[in-house]
Every structure is written in structure tokens, then in C-alpha cells.
């Protein structure tokens, strides 16, 4: 579990991007996720072709992070230890989150699982999930009779 002075909600399952969170935070989708004990905070962008999920994971390496996609359910999990080199020293302040986390997001449209790409740069995880062809908006041309 995450070691923080607030209760953490591990594996916090979010049912759809815009629904549950708004209810919990009293219609304030921009509430600080950390204050609510959700880690890591994520931003999701969407256009007609893809989702881009970003999460702040400072100090993580790619091998510390697991990403799984089941249907349109994306799970990001991992762990970080912040007490390296602590031997022979005394903590004076401890604010950084340490331990295990897991978060699941449900994407509203289907994605092409084999085209998902992830990178971790400067402590920011970016996952690109192209939408499945069947989920893309198609323009139907109406023929003239």
C-alpha cells in the first residue's frame, strides 16, 4: 500500500471517464486527485483517432510499471521505493509517495490493442491508444436517388 497520511484507494476503478469522478468530487472534475488519495493522477486526451493517457510517475523506470489492456479497460500499476540511501540518515520531512499503486480506467470507445504505445520520459508516462476502426466516426455519404 501507499504510505501516506491519508487513506489511499488502490485499484480505484473508474467507471467511464466523466461519470463517477464527478459524483465523488461533487461535480468538480478538476479537483486535485492527490487530495482524494488517488495515485497517480492521470490526464486523458481524446480526439477522433486516439486516446492519450498521461500519468506523473517521477522516479519510476519502465520496468517498475506494468500496463495491461483488457477489452477497453486500461490498468497501470507499479511501485516505487523512496527510502534508498536512507541508512545512516534521519528523515526530516517525508512527503513523496512510496509503495505500490494500481489504477484502472475504462475507455468509452474500443481501442486497437496491438497499436498501443507507451513511453516514460522525465517521470511522465504517456500511453497512446489508437481507437479501433469500428469505434471511429464514419461519415456516410447519402447518394442522390
Amino acid at each position: 500500500m501507499l504510505m501516506m497520511n491519508r487513506p489511499m484507494i488502490a485499484g480505484f476503478a473508474l467507471n467511464g471517464f466523466d461519470g463517477l469522478l464527478d459524483e465523488i468530487f461533487n461535480a468538480s472534475p478538476f479537483q486535485n486527485a492527490r487530495e482524494a488519495g488517488v495515485y497517480p493522477p492521470v490526464n486523458v486526451r481524446e480526439d477522433e483517432n486516439a486516446y492519450t493517457v498521461e500519468a506523473e510517475l517521477p522516479g519510476f523506470k519502465m520496468e517498475d510499471v506494468a500496463i495491461t489492456l483488457t477489452g477497453n479497460e486500461l490498468t497501470v500499476s507499479g511501485s516505487r521505493q523512496c527510502d534508498g540511501e536512507a541508512e545512516g540518515s534521519t528523515w526530516r520531512r517525508r512527503e513523496r509517495i512510496s509503495g505500490q499503486f494500481s489504477r484502472t480506467l475504462v475507455l468509452s470507445d474500443g481501442v486497437s490493442a496491438d497499436k498501443v504505445d507507451a513511453s516514460l520520459l522525465n517521470g511522465v508516462l504517456t500511453i497512446t491508444l489508437p481507437k479501433a476502426e469500428s469505434a471511429k466516426t464514419r461519415k456516410i455519404t447519402v447518394r442522390q436517388a
Partner: protein, 136 residues
Amino acid sequence: MNGCCSTNAGSNAGASCAPATHAATGGKFYRPAVDIRESEREFTIVADVPGAKPEAVDIDVNQGVLTVTANVTPAEHGGARFARREYGVGSYRRSFRLDNSIDAEHIGAELKDGVLTVRLPKASAHQPRKITVKSN
């Protein structure tokens, strides 16, 4: 706490979506989470500054106050809309008051994977010294 690092004024806001106004400069900055450790020889400040690049980090000591700034410019994302927004992207800043036990000339810092580590060695007069007793 013996010496070093009391966190300075500024703001109590966490790294939330709305950056807090920095008291000294008036600019908008996020306040990074930090760990601080003390050993016999130094203090170590470790700060989470995801998204920051080494060349954009600025550390200065002015009148006994250490200020760490990491400039981050939010990326452009064309026409994509936010389907979910839980954190804001922007520059980080936090200040720490140092006492005179710190050897300010030899403060060192490194940034790796969005984590900034600042080492503040204690002045030699404040380090423990072992006195060898000679026998005749």
C-alpha cells in the same frame, strides 16, 4: 530539527491543478512534494518534478534561502480535448530556509527520471570530528 531546511513561506497548496502564487516572485508555480534527510555530513532534499528537464532546473541561494525552480512548458496537443484532467502541467518552485551549518558553496544537484536530488553538505565546523588521542 537541527538546522537546515525549514520550508519557507509560499503556499500550502499541494501540486494541484491550479498552481499557487509564489510569494516572492508572484509567478504561478506548483509546489513539489519533497523528502528531506539529514546525515552527519549533509542534508539531502529529494523533490518530485515530473516533466522537468535538467537544463530547465534552476537552484539558487539568496540570503540564506535555497530556491529550487524547474521550468516546465505544457505540451501542445492540437485538437484533442481533455476526457479527464486530474493534474495541471507547469513549472515547480519551492524555497527552503538554510541555517549557517550549510556549506552553500558546495551544494550539488542532479535530476533523473523527474526526481531532483539536492545535496547540501554541512560546513566542516558542523561535521562530527573524531579526535585521536595519542599516547607517548
